[in-house]
Every structure is written in structure tokens, then in C-alpha cells.
């Protein structure tokens, strides 16, 4: 990829302007929320204490950013060289994704300005504490991985830049990233270990944290694939089919592992009967597994499909949709157990903030990709 094509790229296209408008709308609502409190902007209540922001912006968002550690694992630990070309982009997406997730947490906390408390008032018996600590350190790690590219562009602090780009430092950061990701990706599921009486048995298991980790790997790979495809579109360069094919194969294998673990777990706990229950929960489960796991797994196991861009886009979006449905099911079915039949629908403010934050993420991604050596220098390696 040559730098010229990127800098020639027209920045303020129509789409970019829409992104900007949505981001600004979200920021205005965020300020409103900080001034007037959660009750005024959200539809949260005592029976649905966690809504769209936690379930989508945070829990789903973090899972979708799992591409960061899986790709760095492939490129730096397993030594599959071809993935080095997308390692930077994947790390960048993860960094932006985590910034958005942290913003989501900040907004959703009743006392946002106490967000630093867990770092000083430790409570190691809490899964939430573990998540906060892991996410804080991991976001720092991602920042350190991102920093050299920024320093290179700004042409300052070359010493620090060279230090951070040392092979040993990169490897330490990568290994730290993988370990921290295991810690919080699984613990996001571990949160629901405390809901044995609320969550439906098709989702509740003492293995739920491992299932969250495995499904995050699937969706993380899908997210990276989608991003690679759209990145090529945006920069008007040919698709990197070699990489996409490998990612698709990885996704298919990851889905198989996830599927097997989930079903063996259900079988061991004698919970397969609930699949045929005919309730809303069983229907949701069947949709989640068939459309979000099995179908993309089968499509991506066919080599011709792995080389076809439309098939890739379709099946990766199915994986992402399946993960989204899974996280929604877990959060909202848990809350269904909080008595009452009151139905939660997010308020328009919650939806705008969510869409606006995603837009802000894409906008940041675009600025950074155009201005920093994310794609071009990787070709040199």
C-alpha cells in the first residue's frame, strides 16, 4: 500500500459527515446524562438495572474487540507471518473498541467520577473488580502498542518509540495482552455465575465464563475479517484473500470448538431437554446456535466460500449477530429473573448514544488509518 493513495483520499466524504453528526449528537446526550443522571436519559429501572449500554457497548463491545489479542497471538506467538500485515489494524481496532467500552462503563456508572475506586479499594472476591482491573491494564497495554505509531508520525520521543518497538518489548506486551484478555473476557461471563436462580438453564452453567471467552474469540476473528474487507474497500486496494481465507478457517474452527464445548456442557448437566421446551428461551437459543454458530461454521468450512467476499461478509456478520444475541440473551434473561414482567426497551437517548459512540469509533479509526502508518509500514515487514 503506498502512502500517496491514502493521503489523496478525500477525507470529508458524505459518510464521514454523517459519522461526525452522530458523534456530536452522542456527546451532547452524554453531557446531558452527566448533568441530570441516569433516570432522565435511560429506561433503566429497578427491574432492569442493566440496559443497552452495559449489554451492547460494554459486554458485546469488549467481545468484538477480541480480535486484538487473537491476531497478535497468531502473528507474534504462533509465528504465522502473514497476519503481521493486519496485526496493527487489529490492535488499533481493539484499542478504539476498549476506549469506547470504557466510555460506556463511565456513562453507565451511577457515579461516573468514582470510576477509579476499584483500583484503590480492592475487593478480590468480586468478578467485577477483576474485570475493572484487567480492562484498565489491558487498555494501557493497547495504548503502549499504539503509541509508537503516533510517535513515529509526530516524530518526537524517538527513544521511547524505539524502546516500544523492540521485539522483546512487543512480545511482553503481546503476552500480557493475551493473559489479561483471558482474564476479563471470561470474567464478563463470570458475572452471571451469581445468577443461578435467574438465568435460564440453557445459558446458565458453571462453565459460562469459558463460553464467553471462546465465543469472544469467534466474534473477534469475524470482526477483524470484516474490518479487513472494509479497510480494503475504504483504501481502494485489492482484497487480501490469503489473510481472509486464513481468518475464515480460524473462525470456523473456533466456532466448532465453541459449539462442542457448549453442547457437551449442556449434555453433562442434562440440560439438552430445554432445547425442545418450546418456550421463547428455547427459540432464542435455537436461533442463536443455528444462525450464529452452525450455519457460518458450515459456510466457512468450504474453501470456495472462504474465497468469496459476499459469503465471507454474510457469514462473519452472522457470527457477530450470534454473539450479540448471546450477550443480549444472557443479560436480559437474567433480568427477567428480577421478578415482574416489565419489558425493557432502550430509550431513544440510549440508542443515539450507542450509535454515536460507534460512529465516533469509526471516525477515529479513519483519522488514524489515514494519518498514521497502520497499513503502509506493515507491508515492509
Amino acid at each position: 500500500m503506498n502512502t500517496k493513495a491514502i493521503s489523496d483520499h478525500k477525507f470529508f466524504t458524505f459518510k464521514t459527515k454523517i459519522l461526525l453528526v452522530l458523534s456530536i449528537a452522542a456527546i451532547i446526550l452524554i453531557i446531558y446524562r452527566l448533568i441530570y443522571g441516569l433516570g432522565r436519559v435511560t429506561n433503566l429501572s429497578d427491574t432492569t438495572p442493566w440496559g443497552l449500554w452495559i449489554s451492547f457497548d460494554v459486554i458485546t463491545g469488549v467481545a468484538l474487540a477480541a480480535g486484538g489479542f487473537t491476531i497478535t497471538f497468531a502473528a507474534y506467538i504462533a509465528g504465522w507471518e502473514k497476519y503481521k500485515a493486519i496485526a496493527k489494524a487489529a490492535t488499533l481496532t481493539a484499542f478504539i473498541g476498549y476506549l469506547l467500552a470504557v466510555t460506556g462503563v463511565f456513562l453507565d456508572l451511577g457515579k461516573p467520577f468514582s470510576i477509579w475506586h476499584p483500583l484503590f479499594f480492592w475487593q478480590p472476591h468480586s468478578v467485577m473488580f477483576e474485570i475493572v482491573v484487567c480492562i484498565t491494564i489491558y487498555t494501557t497495554v493497547l495504548f503502549l502498542e499504539f503509541l509508537p505509531w503516533l510517535l513515529e508520525r509526530l516524530n518526537i520521543l524517538t527513544g521511547l518509540k524505539n524502546l516500544l518497538e523492540k521485539k522483546s518489548v512487543i512480545l511482553v506486551l503481546v503476552i500480557l495482552g493475551i493473559m489479561l484478555s483471558y482474564g476479563h473476557q471470561s470474567s464478563l461471563g463470570g458475572l452471571f455465575l451469581l445468577a443461578p436462580d435467574k438465568l435460564h438453564p440453557l445459558w446458565y452453567t458453571h462453565f459460562i465464563h469459558h463460553l464467553f471467552y471462546l465465543s469472544a474469540i469467534c466474534a473477534g476473528l469475524s470482526m477483524v475479517s470484516i474490518e479487513t474487507i472494509f479497510g480494503s474497500n475504504m483504501l481502494k486496494k485489492p482484497y487480501e484473500l490469503n489473510i481472509l481465507e486464513g481468518l475464515a478457517r480460524g473462525t470456523s474452527i473456533a466456532l466448532l470448538v465453541y459449539f462442542l464445548v457448549r453442547f457437551i456442557d449442556l449434555a453433562i448437566n442434562n440440560r439438552l431437554i430445554y432445547v425442545y421446551e418450546g418456550s421463547i428461551e428455547s427459540i432464542l437459543f435455537i436461533i442463536e446456535i443455528s444462525l450464529g454458530v452452525l450455519l457460518p461454521m458450515v459456510i466457512l468450512s468450504v474453501k470456495n466460500m472462504r474465497l468469496s467476499i459476499p459469503a465471507l461478509i454474510l457469514s462473519h456478520f452472522m457470527v457477530i449477530g450470534g454473539l450479540l444475541l448471546n450477550r443480549f440473551n444472557v443479560v436480559f434473561l437474567t433480568e427477567k429473573g428480577l421478578q415482574s414482567n416489565r419489558f425493557y426497551l432502550p430509550s431513544w437517548q440510549e440508542i443515539i448514544v450507542t450509535i454515536g459512540l460507534i460512529s465516533l469509533g469509526i471516525f477515529l479509526y479513519k483519522i488514524i488509518v489515514i494519518n498514521l502508518p497502520i497499513f503502509n509500514s506493515s507491508a515492509k515487514e
Binding site: D46, S114, I175, M179
Partner: protein, 257 residues
């Protein structure tokens, strides 16, 4: 001293003195609700109501009108306290589970974790607190009984040493086997609660949650996830390290050839 309260549902007449006493002691505002066919008032526990009497009309088998005292159960090993990332909810020596608004960050995980759905939230302020029954922590420390227990004209609630209240519950059931259901609600639920109930009608008919596992909640997360995580991380580090070592060694060999 481990305190506890035995609630004998058969004795309650639904006068709501306990609700008033609770409001008075905690300086909570009055709640205004319209009548709508159900005499439970206010309708539910919320940030302004730590306790209430639920009026339960049993319309199916053997008709009865029952009045159920609702408030925090003060679990022996509270799920909420183990869920809180900053330790804002704590189990005290006097058995109360109390809340520290200065530590709280407002994540509301306690609301998800509590098997009895007790913690409530102040949704409409900019500096919201979790609100729940505090077992009149301050009164107990001064050797007094909780406000609701003190106010009750029918002696529905028996406050005392936990061992004694369990003994008393068993004694009452044993002496009146025809009257009471042979079950102490809260003796084993969620690993045992400091407030326990006995009743003359099946608990499921009175709206008590019967699917609560009879084991300590904090132990579920501790055993399955948190206690193992350091070992898992160490294992992961070993795997990653050895992978990396094997690969670089292979690469170096390849270079020599």
C-alpha cells in the same frame, strides 16, 4: 454476636406499623399510591421503601389472606457483598449487610447478584445510592431491636441470637405440626439468611422464590472462576512461553541450515 429475626407469617395482621417505623427511623418520605385492587402499599420495595407488607390473597386452594413482611434477608454470606467491586456492601459482625455510599461506584451488579432482588437504586438523582434495609445497624449496636420489630403490635418478628431464633422456629413447628408448614425459609436458601420465615401456607403460594440454590453464593464465583484464575493465567503464560521458545529455537536452527 450473630443476630437474626424469625418472622412468623401466621401472626401478622397487616397493620403496616413496621413500614411506618422503618420510614420514621430512616427519615424516608411518605409514598403516595392509588388504590388498584391490591392492598399492598406501596406497591414494591424501592429507593424510598426498605420494607413493606405484601398482601397476598390466596384464591385457589384453601382461601386465605396473608401478610408477608418483605425486606433484606441479610444473608450470612451475601451475594451482593461478594459482587461489589469496591466492597461498598459489607456483612457486619452484628449480622447486618450495610452499604457505604462513599465507596459505591454505581455499577449495580449487586442488583443483578441478589437472589431476593432487594437492592434498589435512586434512578433520578445525579449522585445515586443503592438503597436497602440495613437491619437498623445503628440500633442493634446500641442494644436495641430493629425499628420494625419494635413497632410490631403482634410480635410477628422475634429478634435475637441466630441460634435461638432457629431453635424457636423449630420449637414452634414441632409444637404445632398441624398449623405450620414444616419448612424454615431462609435456613438454607443462598447458604442461610439472618432473617428466617415460618408459615402456615406453602411458601411458593406466598410468592417466595423456591429455586434459590441452597448454597453460599460467593462460593459459586470463587470456586468456579476467581480462585482458579491465577493458576489459569500461570498455565497460559507457560504455554505461550514454551510456544515462543520452541518457535524461536526452530527458527534459529533453520537459519543455521
Amino acid at each position: 454476636m450473630a443476630n437474626g429475626v424469625l418472622v412468623d407469617i401466621t401472626k401478622c395482621i397487616g397493620c403496616r406499623s413496621c413500614q411506618i417505623a422503618c420510614k420514621a427511623w430512616h427519615s424516608l418520605d411518605a409514598s403516595y399510591n392509588l388504590m388498584n385492587g391490591n392492598l399492598t402499599m406501596p406497591k414494591e420495595l424501592n429507593d424510598n421503601n426498605y420494607t413493606l407488607i405484601e398482601f397476598k390473597e390466596n384464591k385457589t386452594s384453601n382461601r386465605a389472606w396473608k401478610f408477608i413482611k418483605k425486606q433484606c434477608f441479610h444473608c450470612k454470606e451475601p451475594a451482593c457483598a461478594s459482587a461489589c467491586p469496591v466492597g461498598a456492601l459489607r456483612k457486619m459482625k452484628n449480622s447486618s449487610v450495610i452499604y457505604d455510599q462513599w465507596l459505591c461506584i454505581g455499577c449495580r451488579y449487586c442488583m443483578i447478584a441478589c437472589p431476593f432482588n432487594i437492592p434498589k437504586y435512586e434512578w433520578n438523582t445525579t449522585n445515586p445510592w443503592i438503597r436497602k434495609c440495613d437491619f437498623c445497624d445503628d440500633r442493634i449496636d446500641d442494644g436495641l431491636e430493629p425499628a420494625c420489630v419494635k413497632a410490631c403490635p403482634m410480635k410477628v418478628m422475634y429478634f435475637g441470637d441466630y441460634k435461638n431464633i432457629v431453635k424457636e422456629a423449630k420449637r414452634r413447628i414441632k409444637n404445632n405440626p398441624d398449623k405450620y408448614i414444616n419448612y424454615i425459609y431462609g435456613e438454607k436458601e443462598a447458604g442461610g439468611t439472618s432473617w428466617i420465615y415460618i408459615s402456615d401456607k406453602p411458601f411458593e403460594e406466598l410468592g417466595f422464590k423456591m429455586n434459590i440454590p441452597k448454597k453460599s453464593y460467593p462460593l459459586i464465583t470463587w470456586k468456579n472462576s476467581l480462585s482458579k484464575i491465577l493458576w489459569e493465567e500461570a498455565g497460559l503464560l507457560a504455554i505461550l512461553g514454551s510456544l515462543l521458545y520452541l518457535r524461536t529455537r526452530k527458527d534459529k536452527k533453520g537459519d543455521k541450515n
